[in-house]
């Protein structure tokens, strides 16, 4: 039973990894690619790690997989946000069909407030 659950979890994780990487190739600009690619981490690799935990139970293999899953869940959003901010500040344009850019709006409003002051 646990064997079947572990295999199902690992299959879900592999599917998300594959589809995330297809999104990384297919989507039009760096922000869309980042959005697809981060699914690869939180759903793909974490599901594989949880599958290892279910398969191995409370053993060195399973506990290390659990620790790795917690660490990956905590750090990957931080890395993704830092990369998006770095890309925006380095001047990468959005896709021309993107409809909203809150970061640019915020920056422009800050600049106009500084100009008035």
């Amino acid at each position: 039973m646990t064997e079947t659950i572990a295999q199902a979890l690992i299959l879900i994780g592999l599917g998300f990894d594959l589809f995330g990487c297809i999104g990384l190739v297919r989507l039009p600009d760096v922000y869309n690619r980042l959005q697809a690619a981060t699914k690869c981490v939180t759903l793909g690799t974490c599901f594989i790690l949880i599958g290892v935990l279910v398969h191995a139970g409370i053993s060195p293999l399973g506990v290390k997989a659990f620790l790795c899953a917690i660490f990956v869940i905590l750090t990957s959003p931080v890395g993704a946000h830092a990369l998006a901010r770095g890309a925006h500040l380095s001047g990468v344009r959005l896709w021309e069909k993107s409809v909203v850019d809150k970061y640019e709006e915020h920056r422009l409003s800050e600049e106009s407030r500084h100009a008035k002051a």
């Binding site: 191995a56 293999l61 993704a80 901010r85």
Partner: protein, 89 residues
């Protein structure tokens, strides 16, 4: 875990890695390459999981934890570099 299942999983991950390598090679801007490099690190953590299941020992998971740490530090460093700032501020 049957060997056929593990072989299938490793094959899927190798295919994903080639898609990431395509984006690293042909990415039009530097942030594209940084994103693909970040995801490649995560895929390698998945590789370590499957190899740990295949071998039944836990040292592959130690490699996975260390690789996730180093991948995170490399991502933050690349993001700082793209922002055009130094590491002091």
């Amino acid at each position: 875990m049957t060997p056929a299942f593990l072989n299938f999983g490793l094959g899927v991950l190798v295919l994903s890695c080639f898609l990431c390598l395509y984006r690293i090679g042909c990415g039009p801007t530097a942030p594209d390459r940084a994103v693909a490099l970040d995801i490649l690190g995560t895929l390698i953590v998945g590789f370590c999981c499957l190899l740990g299941l295949a071998s039944g020992t836990d040292f592959y998971m130690s490699i996975a934890i260390a690789w996730a740490l180093l991948s995170f530090v490399a991502t933050i460093g690349l993001a700082k570099y793209l922002e055009g700032r130094t590491f002091d501020d």
